[in-house]
Symmetry: C2
Amino acid sequence: MDDRVQAVIDAKAKVLKALGHPTRLFIVEELARGERCVCELVKLVGADFSTVSKHLTLLKNAGVVQDDKRGQMVFYTLKVPCILRFMDCIEAVIVSGSCK
Amino acid sequence: MDDRVQAVIDAKAKVLKALGHPTRLFIVEELARGERCVCELVKLVGADFSTVSKHLTLLKNAGVVQDDKRGQMVFYTLKVPCILRFMDCIEAVIVSGSCK
DNA sequence: CTATTATTTGGCTATATTGCCAAATATATA
DNA sequence: TATATATTTGGCAATATAGCCAAATAATAG
């Protein structure tokens, strides 16, 4: 396959892979409701600080979220809300496999 | 977190994870153009028969594709083309992080 | 029935991912 | 400065994933 085509596929797969983990998907859906600091996400997710931080780093590297340090806290926001429009389709997949 | 909510997130993450691999994403995009037998996909992907078969099984388990055996060949089709509408957004993520 | 073609499955190794703990860093506050 | 809080980083063990080969299965042709 063409190298350039392959590179695009790899990049897209990376984004999808970042979304393809329950904790990270939960974080993305939470961020869809607005900015959250790491500490809030830690409480909601119920995992170790370091674990959540690593998930956030991965999402950031994939280009899905953005961080903003203010004082001693770091706030994360969803960079690409268009991802959420996906979710209806994904839900269609899981309920039966029909979609428009 | 609520068990039911968690189950939905897990299921959605499973679909996204299935799409989050270069070879599988390639297969999905190829199937978007129409039905393909395993043998065609093997040629296009350039991996072992068994490897492609396992990717297809995984996509099938995630509810993304469907198979249909006719004669000695197995044809796969994309079960949820709505997934493709995603791709513009995913491409937006990889080019710069802006999306509508 | 035998041989051939298409596909899947089992088994294995290499590699990647996950998640915890502990330590490091950064910022704020006393 | 010392201390507390927020977050990231390093390291590690457990688990999962990817991809190859070889073997099993299924369908067809001879």
